[in-house]
Amino acid sequence: MDRSRRNFCLGAGAAGIGAATLATMPAEAAQARQGGDAARRWAMVVDVRKCVGCQACTVACIMENDVPENSFRTIVSTYEVTEQGKTGTYMLPRLCNHCEDAPCIPVCPTGATHQRQDGIVVVDNTVCVGCAYCVQACPYDARFINHDTQTADKCTFCVHRIDAGLLPACVETCVGGARVFGDLNDPNSAVSKLNRETDPKVLKPEQGTQPRVFYIGLDPKFQGKVDGTPTLWRPAREKEHV
């Protein structure tokens, strides 16, 4: 067992100190947050150099969270990259970034989408009207309408597991040890250390969302909308893109 991935459990108790590089949340935002442990700030660091593109996380998430067919809370975007005559594969695990300044929250007309005090952005699907405004507002295409519940859905960092002291299913299952989860408020957590030591990057920083999913080894070409050729995903796509 990779101890660093378990770190957040072991580090319980040591809290309250924010990572130096991270902006703290505005007071009014903090007040609006409900539930969760205010002493913590859950985050993930994804080391893309370690990702082997096996999609075990994708499958684990689907099983854990009963994600309907054709929908994904997390997926490993996979790209074939040709540079100077050499071809390689680039993997980028994507999920909700549990942004510090999440644009999906203010647009929600019912308050169904909200942020817990531990930073996890959740949807109360008993309140959500399925207006999909949040789906539009998320700059990462992290959200979708779940057709079983007809409400907005997305990665929750496996909040039910976190609250039970477990790791998110994707982290637990990651073969390459590419996904590290933990508490940013704990300076000794693996995520805090990686943050200090490796200067990880986030997706679309220019959006000002302050993601709390960080990437080590993030190629700038994949930081925003990828400029590339899509290939067949749905059969209907065949006729497009000559």
Binding site: G53, Q55, S71, F72, I75, S77, T78, Y79, E80, V81, T82, E83, Q84, G85, T89, Y90, R94, P103, P106, V107, C108, P109, T110, G111, A112, V127, C128, V129, G130, C131, A132, Y133, V135, Q136, A137, C138, P139, Y140, D141, F144, I145, Q150, T151, L203, Q207, K221, G224, K225, V226, D227, G228, T229, P230, T231, W233, R234, A236, R237, E240, H241
Partner: protein
């Protein structure tokens, strides 16, 4: 050396604002436009605008009543619509919309009633089995310009709020560069006005006595609206082309390499320039053609913004595929809303047939007397 990225695995996010939303934004825009065009003739009692105003009022009413149905259907949990009304969410423009829409629609109903009261009264004087019903609907009165103006100003405020929120709601979505432009609310309003005028031309032809002066008047208005559409569109394009502002450049960039988007752009320009030229060159006798193109172009604009906009991935490569589903999530939604609109039009025009236009109306004296009373 050639660098190349091929996306091998990624997710396709489906369109989450459905064609219902296109219908909503189209209908509510036309309704707002209808209110605006009806104001000179009714609220400001300008006789030369009265006939056109009546047709515009039909547009405002039919579209304004059908629109909320389309909006409700766009919710994936329509039965929970009341959730909007048990919270205070001022940061959400959609929440504001849930306040503005009932205000606007109620205002519209009262305003339309005030405008049509004169006709209701006249119908009440006709010897028919429904006369009593008309008299009841007229609430024992006739034309009252003061009331029309007061309700007109209220509905104008509602229309302004609706125009504001529908535009800003979409424009604030920073995640979509194509939407995130201050020009969008203006474009929505201008294309809505063009669409309204187009529908006025069509209704004038088919549901309101085919009046030549109304046609010419509406074609002139249409030319104005289309001119404005072209100016705003041109400024948006310039902001993107010359990189004056980053979001606009990004927006243009995100679609510039797509054949489908190029065709759409050419189509949009043609559907704006063509009716503009016709309306300017020959405003009489062309209403059917210009009207049809204008209505279609206002709808296409919204289709392109909403459905087209959502096919641009925020992180993935290329475009998401969109095929119009046949069921309620797609075609049925479009046809259903159109059917509802037609039904409303038939009911309203059956209940309030176009007053005979040749020669002064036989009962003209009575409302005039009422007006005198009201003016006192």
């Amino acid at each position: 050396m050639e660098n190349q990225i091929v996306e091998v695995i990624n997710v396709t996010r489906e369109v989450a604002w459905l064609p219902w939303a296109v219908q909503y934004f189209f209908l509510i825009g036309l309704s707002v436009g209808g209110v605006l065009l009806s104001l000179p003739g009714y609220a400001f009692a300008r006789d030369e605008w009265r006939k056109l105003g009546r047709v515009a009022l039909l547009v405002a009413l039919t579209c304004g009543l059908a629109a909320p149905v389309a909006l409700l259907s766009d919710l994936h949990q329509p039965g929970r619509f009341w959730h909007f009304y048990v919270v205070f969410r001022p940061t959400s423009w959609m929440w504001w919309g849930s306040i503005f829409i009932p205000f606007y629609v109620t205002g519209l109903l009262v305003y339309a009633w005030a405008c049509f009261r004169e006709e209701l009264q006249e119908q009440g004087r006709v010897d028919s089995r429904l006369a009593a019903l008309y008299r009841l609907a007229a609430l024992g009165g006739g034309r009252n310009d003061g009331l029309i103006r007061a309700t007109g100003l209220v509905v104008l405020a509602g229309a302004a709020l609706v125009a504001l929120y529908t535009g800003v709601e979409v424009a604030v979505v920073r995640a979509r560069p194509l939407w995130h432009t201050p020009f969008l609310p203006v474009q929505f309003l201008m294309t809505a006005l063009a669409g309204t005028t187009g529908l006025v031309l069509l209704l004038n032809r088919f549901a309101a006595g085919n009046d030549r002066t109304v046609e010419v008047q509406a074609n002139r208005l249409l030319a104005g609206a289309l001119g404005a559409v072209m100016v705003v569109g041109g400024v948006w394009l310039a902001a993107g082309l010359f990189g004056i502002e980053r979001t606009h450049a990004e927006a243009l960039d995100s679609v510039a390499n797509s054949e489908a988007w190029r065709v759409t752009a050419i189509w949009a320009v043609a559907a704006t320039v063509l009716p503009f030229v016709i309306a300017v060159a020959k405003p009489a006798g062309t209403g059917l053609l210009t009207g049809l193109i204008a209505v279609h172009s206002a709808w296409m604009f919204r289709w392109t913004v909403f459905i087209g906009g959502q096919t641009v991935p925020k992180t993935g490569a290329g475009f998401y595929e969109y095929a119009l589903p046949a069921g309620p999530e797609g075609l049925l939604g479009i046809v259903g809303t159109a059917g509802l609109w037609l039904f409303l039009l038939l009911v309203i025009t059956a209940f309030l047939p176009t007053p005979p236009q040749s020669a002064p109306r036989p009962v003209r004296a009575a409302p005039a007397a009422d007006r005198a009373v009201a003016a006192e």
